[in-house]
């Protein structure tokens, strides 16, 4: 089953598809939601007139007005805090944090407040916000423009964590996230905003327009949170991954001619455990790939789940390929990045065992 088939067999996809890059797809999702739901508002540093430092909100203020799409003071604590208040009123805020690396001043509002509001008020109040933020490295952004902190959020009860890997998914997942009544962290892999990244950094970048997953249907459609995507079916092993690393894993498997089944998790919480179990039980081998640091990374959770649930089907120990446990270095970016060599060797080892 190819991805095109998945997309076109989706009952929600009725209209024609065009090719968009990930920024355009995100912009379109926001535009659609602003038009559909008068309670949706967008705010963040530089998102208004300028349209965001990555242009994700370009044109939206002009189209929907200054009280729907607006700039904020440089205070992530303030941005998330007022989003909690707006949610309490009944709005559906979609705040942007300019880089995931800058979300930390907002953590108290996110972890102690947004994530727990439904629970502590027994459902009287909710925080239906979607916090969008570019994350991940591979752009020579140094340690404050490259982090992948998704595990911190996945660890917090009450937060959903979503990470798209294609323009098609970015649009459908973002619409689903905005409509979701719980707080959602929506991390956008900035390295693949303009084109998928194979991990072979010395090769020219392929633009999205040439990629099969850049076909983005017009209009409104949703991809449910908690459903993984089978990037490719295979028998030899299962690769669990998300974000930029989906493309890297795919390229490495192709280069090595490995018949791997690659699962793009799409959401870490809620997790598509069914798809994971099904695949690992079929292949008997499991490799987890993420760019984030290793220790207590989301890979550790995945590894534990797979071991707990598929132990008697495993032919080899579950393995993880991750970033190193250091801050993201500037000049040694490609030594840090879990690229083709690290993934390739892990695949060899997994198949040998």
């Amino acid at each position: 089953m190819s991805v095109q088939e998945t997309a076109s067999s989706d009952p929600l996809v009725t209209e024609e598809t065009r090719r968009l890059n990930m920024i355009e797809a995100i912009n379109e999702a926001l535009d659609i939601m602003l038009a559909r739901d008068p309670d949706v508002i967008i705010m963040g540093e530089d998102v208004g007139y300028f349209g965001g430092v990555f242009r994700a909100t370009a044109g939206l203020q002009e189209k929907h007005g200054k009280t729907r799409v607006f700039d904020t003071p440089i205070s992530e604590c303030g941005i998330i805090g007022v989003a909690v208040g707006m949610g309490a009123y009944g709005l559906r805020p979609v705040p942007e944090i300019q880089f995931a690396d800058y979300i930390y001043p907002g953590l108290d509002q996110l972890i102690s407040e947004a994530a727990r509001l439904r629970y502590r008020s027994a459902g009287e109040y909710i925080a239906p916000m979607t916090v969008r933020s570019p994350f991940g490295g591979g752009i020579f952004g140094g340690q404050t423009h490259s982090q992948s902190p998704e595990a911190i959020f996945a660890h917090v009860s009450g937060l959903k964590t979503v990470i798209p890997s294609t323009p098609h998914d970015a649009k459908g997942l973002l619409i689903a996230a905005i409509e979701d009544n719980d707080p959602v962290i929506f991390f956008e892999p900035k390295r693949i905003y303009n084109g998928p990244f194979s991990g072979y950094y010395d090769k020219p970048v392929e633009p999205w327009k040439k990629h099969r997953d850049s076909k983005v249907p017009e209009g409104y459609y949703k991809i449910p949170l908690g459903k993984a995507r089978i990037v490719q079916e295979g028998e030899a092993m299962t690769v669990l991954t998300y974000g930029t690393m989906v493309h890297v894993a795919e390229a490495v498997c192709a280069a090595k001619g490995v018949d791997a089944e690659i699962l793009d998790l799409r959401t870490l919480v809620p997790l598509d455990i069914e798809a994971i179990e099904k695949s690992v039980k079929k292949t008997g081998r499991c490799l987890i790939v993420h760019e984030a640091t290793r220790t207590a990374g989301f890979g550790a959770e995945l590894s534990a789940l797979v071991t707990e649930r598929c132990f008697y089907h495993l032919e080899a120990p579950v393995d993880r390929v991750t970033g190193f446990d250091t801050p993201y270095p500037h000049s040694l970016e490609w030594a840090y990045f879990p690229g083709p060599v690290r993934i390739g060797e892990a695949i060899d080892k997994l198949l040998k065992d």
Binding site: E45, F50, D71, P73, I74, T144, D325, T326, H330, S331
Partner: protein, 433 residues
Amino acid sequence: MADRPEGTAAQGSNKPVLSLHVPEPKYRPGDTVDFSHIGVTRPGDQPRPDEVCHASETAPLTLDLVRVLGDDNKAHGPWDPKLDPETLRQMLRHFAMVRAFDARMYRGQRQGKTSFYMKCTGEEATSISAAMALASDDMVFPSYRQQGILIARGYSLVEMINQIYSNRGDKLKGRQLPIMYSSREHSFFSISGNLATQTPQAVGWAMASAIKGDSRIAATWVGEGSTAEGDFHSACTFAAVYNAPVILNVVNNQWAISSFSGFAGAERTTFAARAVGYGIAGIRVDGNDPLAVYAAERWAANRARANAGPTLIEHFTYRAEGHSTSDDPSQYRSAHESDEWPLGDPVNRLKKHLIALGEWDEERHAAMDLACAEEVKAATKEAEKNGILGHGLHHPFATMFEDVFEELPWHLVEQSKQAIHEREVKFPEGRPK
């Protein structure tokens, strides 16, 4: 939408309808610019309270604008720091050097020698003149736009460029984004990419200095946009509570990337006026007037050293160029703003002042500019021997794992081996030169 309280309150009642105010800058791309609403005060008119006065005595100064240099290029009034010509020439040379350095590094980024650069054009006085008013061992906690401090403190250009190129000569081991310097030797704190974090740290350093009965003070710099961060307000509160010997410099260059100062509260009051609420001294100074900046910083330094407490200084200036090499300001602001800026250019103003004093002339100025450009060029050549970003001459892979902790735990030892192994796989014949 499901599962949420009813959203719309009783509209159509006789209560007034609320509306949200969203700030908007006066000028956008293409607009002609008129800055006549900016209150440009008369140089020399502002009173200079005693350095150990009660903080409330400075309250009027937080809404004023301290200026010294007049249109006649002469120094006026009680804030004239009365610097000797040699010091002024030195200051001018630091200005010229920073400009030459910025020009070259900006070009270097465009030529692909590094990933990123940030200029401070138009704001040179806010770092250089201020740094010159401090003792050289007073501790500074800068933001990313105070390269002038390092130049004023005599930091080596080659070291700066090594850092910008992230090459094997970079003493920060190529880890930090360009311009995120650190030099303990120059009492210059390691720069963070996370805004405003340095402000409470400066207060903490100052508190430590007071705890230990030291005589050194601390100073920090933060952009006006970044004063919205909670860290800045914690800094002000701690500074006030402990009467910390610290100077909080707010560089109001009107813009925070594409957001004008109104998004940090400038439509309501000045940034200096924040001081009043915290009960600390505050001064609003013409940030493009090198003498006024020097005088304000010296006033605050003397106050701190006399145990009279912290001062918040707003440097009213203008970011004459883009936010960084990643930014195109023509997308969001009028290109005429910079030309129309009513407070002029700090380099030009200092130069004209020295000429008016009979201590400088155009020929010497041109020669100085040339000499600075040559010095920067030579330093660039020297630094390039250590490599440029992405061209092989970086620190060894093992260094990536150092300094995460004082000692390497087992997992970093393993990961270090893995990194070196990967290098050998990728470059079996050794790294290309």
